[in-house]
Symmetry: C2
Subunit: 351 residues, 2 copies
């Protein structure tokens, strides 16, 4: 077995799966994670249940993290960042900073799994007033509430009677420059709508959308039950602004199916914020000298143009949402393919 | 290196990628393919350009097939089917029939990559008359025409002036029992609409849809250019029947955005047929004794519930559209993860 190992930047779903796969096929990996613990955004953002499986996120990620930390083939460096590198496929020398100290890690190949960050509603082009109205929250905020079991209006601590989700906040939006679709927000919102209805059976829940992108099994596993079993009300419409009215929120917009203006009062409005490249994804693209696409995600494709995990630099691969909007299945499967490619690249040079 | 190898059933995108990954990480694979050549449905159905990259499908798959056939670690058995198996993870004995002869292949693990088949419009619940009207075709039929460069109305051999796509034929349809969304048809139809407009610049092209599911980069790479650059006309509407009117087709239905009945005449109507489990996927589920979901696809999830390539039997994995609607990226990445899992399962038993 070769001495050399594979360096993985990022300890979220894609990075963890890549590490696990590398270890399982008999090679060694080192994970460099900026945060103080593994689990990535699902962990940091307190995901409650997973889309689409409704499995407990904590349990699922605890198991994966345990697999990784218990493996003798995987070294984990938390609180650490890649500062620079030199060399090429088969013999990278990567300078990693932990606390104030730096060390050089030798790696046969590199996997970038630095993920995404939620779109910041401060940049929204509509007038949703996320930073002004406490009862305007994001799907990330709601996920934390669902996890804690304490679902209330931040303004008064009471359970909301009427809850609305607004889709495509920071996605499919040319003014902001995010023309892409963030892929997962329709499914996450619908999953959360079901959970809200289960937790607060007297609540009314509406989802305002452009297109409901419930691809594959999300359609039958989430979208149909949301409507039929849980009585979530889907409205094809555009919300143009949110105003305070007494102690409620007034949503103004257009019901595009009915073709008429719309005004509805809500207790809690949830913004389905999309995905943007994380600070780490932007930084690592620069540090490693790999191409980004126009949105700042890492450009995948490689020489064939169709390799989902190849970057512009041989021996450096990408997995998960660092390459663009990705669901959990995407992150796991890209992690697996990146692991295979990374081992292959290292073996090729050493052969 | 262990003597044992991994048996892959199916030589389409997922199976080819799995084989390539296994070979690249230093293990051996044997592909059992029922057809006489590799490449799966993209090859058999004469895919022209790939969704979403617009790369030439022939070139892309020629390269992947070449990688596989040139690898000394991969054996390819075409015209062959798995008849039965015995044993367990680490020591499967699989009986493969080629022509009239059978042989037993020893395999450490098994990957099922038996793919999908296009929904047969004979089972549609609307009245689209695919089998009666020559100018009603499917996206698979159109793909072949685009590949041959001969885009005409089958009824008279002339170029169509007005072309309509109808989405969700055989998908999102409870009457048929296919409640799921087939994930790729919106993107493929939009890609084809662009190609039709490029090939026949005077044509008018419309797409009738429920929701346009252009997730991730499909939104900016296909959907926006289709509308803005290529002037494809998207109509949120339901087509209830197609009738012959003179030498044209009369489409009747409802424009759900405008909220009014709709009648439009077309020269060519393209049914965006969805995905169903292939005969091979159904047969292999039975032969191998692995769980199917209610649609006949192979149930994935494994013990964690969230493993995209684990089946109900240890040592047997699934990749690509055999597990449900999948795009090309899904097939490649699942192929990679399944390769890692299959090698790991084999190593674990041999350790």
């Amino acid at each position: 077995m070769p001495e050399s190992k594979i360096l993985i930047i990022g300890g979220g779903p894609a990075g963890l799966e890549a590490a696990r796969s590398i270890s399982d096929i008999g090679y060694s990996a080192v994970i460099v994670e900026k945060r103080d613990s593994l689990g990535g955004t699902p962990n940091e953002a307190n995901y409650a249940k997973l889309t689409h499986h409704f499995k407990d996120a904590g349990e699922v990620f605890d198991e994966i993290v345990r697999n990784v930390t218990e493996s003798p083939n995987i070294e984990v460096m938390t609180g650490s960042e890649v500062e620079s590198y030199e060399g090429q496929a088969g013999s990278f020398k990567v300078t990693v900073k932990t606390g104030g100290k730096t060390q050089v890690v030798e790696a046969g190949s590199i996997i970038v799994a630095t993920g995404f960050q939620h779109f910041d509603p401060a940049r929204e082009t509509q007038y949703y007033n996320y930073y002004s109205y406490p009862d305007v929250i994001t799907i990330a905020d709601l996920e934390g509430m669902l996890k804690s079991g304490n679902l209330v209006r931040p303004s008064n601590g009471k359970a909301p009677e009427k809850v609305a989700f607004i889709q495509c906040v920071g996605s499919r939006d040319r003014q902001i420059g995010n023309e892409f679709c963030s892929k997962v927000c329709c499914g996450i919102s619908s999953k959360q709508a079901i959970e809200v209805r289960e937790m607060l059976p007297d609540s009314k829940v509406m989802i305002f959308y452009i297109d409901m992108r419930m691809y594959g099994y999300w359609e039958n596993e989430i979208y149909w039950p949301a409507q039929e079993k849980h009585k979530v009300n889907y409205v094809k419409g555009i919300v143009s602004e949110i105003l305070q009215k007494g102690d409620r929120l007034l949503m103004r917009g257009e019901d595009t199916t009915m073709g008429r203006p719309m005004e509805v009062e809500m207790d809690l409005v949830v913004l389905a914020v999309g995905m943007e490249p994380s600070a780490g994804t932007r930084a690592m693209s620069q540090t490693l000298g790999i191409d980004q696409n126009k949105y700042g995600f890492i450009a995948a494709g490689g020489t064939s143009g169709v390799d989902p995990v190849a970057t512009s630099v041989p021996g450096i691969f990408v997995a998960g949402a660092a390459a663009g909007p990705a669901d959990l299945d995407d992150s796991f499967t890209m992690g697996g393919l990146a692991a295979a490619r990374a081992v292959a690249a290292m073996r090729r040079v050493m052969a």
